[in-house]
Symmetry: C2
Subunit: 317 residues, 2 copies
């Protein structure tokens, strides 16, 4: 424990950075957010950037260490921190953390991400990885005072995770967000849509609902995508509904894939805990309700702060 | 029948044009191919371009009419020819053809495409469309002397079709080719691959085979895409195998979706008739064999010529 008990907690992702100053009683005193994700900061500049984050809070932080999670621990980040393999407990994150030093000499602990290997059949192995979401998941677990839960974290690469007896037993990445983005921007489907963009999906509840219904009834995704065009030609929906439809289709198929794996309960499954503050959260809420699943929601900042705090306590810094 | 019995047959698609001169005995005398698809030719220039195609063959063609199929009959083509609705017979194509005139006054018959509407459940209707493939399908049927068959036409938007008692009963478009292309060119997966491009897929049989196996064993496509990256990080495959893997994954999921719908036979299903000359054909052959399906193959030119000839005979021109 440092002189003041304050801590600097940072979620340093691919495109964004979120920093929090907390005091000894776990109160969040201040926060900073920027688009200085690891893609926009050369690794050599990261030690100095950490000091910049600490500067406005230097009086309260004094020599307190910083705890970081996210892509900052990847091969393109500050230093590469090897993944911890599932099943993994919250204490495995500080155990696997790497200690580095900022330009001004502040101690910095970078938490590892998680990986999971699973056997698909025979000798066929499949891997998955996350960096940052594991800290949100363990933080959410602590915040909700649970030891068993299913989580869904919407995003460019949505993550689902199953926690059992306090350990992350399984997780998977769904390419839904990036798939929507590349199809809207670069495919024939996007070119033929009247309206496309980030707002399009939330603005068109009718198209979205239609996409969810098709995702439940059709054979699969590859054979359903072209209907975003053909259903307009046939007059089954308007051109303006098409982007919302595509979004519903993709999220609907994600849920259809993920539910049997992560929430195999009989009858009404759930609840699924949606973690995040992303604009996608309301879409996932609607989509999960549409599939008859109960949901709870937790803000992403709350989850990551709880996770970083837990790690810093376990690090005993 | 014209004075010479010769005919000008044209498959005029989105990005390509293929023209054939046939004589009265159905012999193919000469052929032309170019990239003058409808995307690169303004509709107003199409009547004159038809005369250019006829020019080198003018002595043998004399006043013979031309028969065209493909996207030339779409709203962005020469003239819009309304779709014929499935189930559809070969005779429905000439019945639905539109007659136009070239710049020099030659008669031109543009064949319609097909559409099919199906009920997914409740009031939920889903549409699909094709322009050009229907002529290949009916041509292949005639060439093979069949009245029942399942067809697979690989391409940017692969088509599967089921013909029963000589009529196209059902078909579907699979977005596989375009999905591969946008993911390789514009997604995180493509950026992280060592080698990407048109050759990548055929050059890497190991990666391709792995993709097929994952497509058979995993829950779905959305949750499998990220493994093209994660399996490299885990050392389960090399970075160079990753594009072939993605190709196998996408084609594998297409087949997994399409087989139960188009070839519901018990035991060893098939045969599936693969129609085309595209570089994708060997990949589909491998993938269908991998799923235990017998295949036959027919060259795309042979199929479309047979289909255009049949239409021209039914038009009685």
């Amino acid at each position: 424990m440092t002189e003041t008990g304050a801590r600097l907690l940072v979620d340093w992702g691919t495109t964004n950075l979120r920093a929090f100053l907390v005091d000894a009683s776990r109160e969040i005193l201040e926060r900073q957010a920027s688009d200085q994700g690891i893609l926009s900061v050369p690794p050599d500049d990261m030690p100095a950037l950490l000091d910049q984050l600490a500067a406005p809070w230097s009086e309260r932080l004094r020599g307190a260490p910083a705890v970081l999670c996210g892509m900052v621990g990847s091969i393109n980040g500050w230093t590469e921190v090897p993944y911890v393999t599932c099943p993994a407990a919250p204490a495995d994150l500080p155990k696997g953390a790497q200690k580095v030093t900022s330009a001004a000499g502040r101690e910095v602990f970078i938490l590892p991400g998680l990986t999971r290997h699973r056997r698909l059949g025979g000798e066929l192995m499949q891997a998955d990885v996350m960096r940052g979401e594991e800290t949100q998941i363990f933080g959410a677990l602590r915040h909700l005072k649970r030891s068993d839960a299913t989580f869904c974290l919407p995003g460019t690469h949505a993550k689902w995770a199953r926690v059992e007896a306090g350990r992350c037993a399984d997780f998977a990445t769904y390419f839904t967000g990036e798939l929507y983005s590349v199809l809207i921007r670069h495919s024939l489907l996007g070119r033929l849509m009247e309206q496309a963009g980030d707002e399009a999906e939330t603005a068109l509840p009718e198209g979205f609902e239609r996409g969810l219904r098709v995702a439940q009834a059709a054979e699969g995704l590859t054979g359903s995508l072209f209907s975003a065009r053909a259903d307009v030609l046939a007059g089954f929906m308007t051109k303006a509904e098409s982007p919302g439809y595509l979004s519903g289709l993709l999220i609907g198929f994600e849920i259809r894939e993920a539910l049997p794996r992560f929430s195999p309960g009989v009858g009404a499954p759930g609840p699924i805990v949606i973690v995040g503050a992303h604009g996608l959260v309301p879409l996932y809420r609607t989509a999960l309700h549409h599939s008859g699943v109960r949901v709870e929601e937790l803000d992403g900042d709350t989850a990551v702060i709880a996770g970083l705090l837990q790690a810093s306590e376990l690090l005993d810094i």
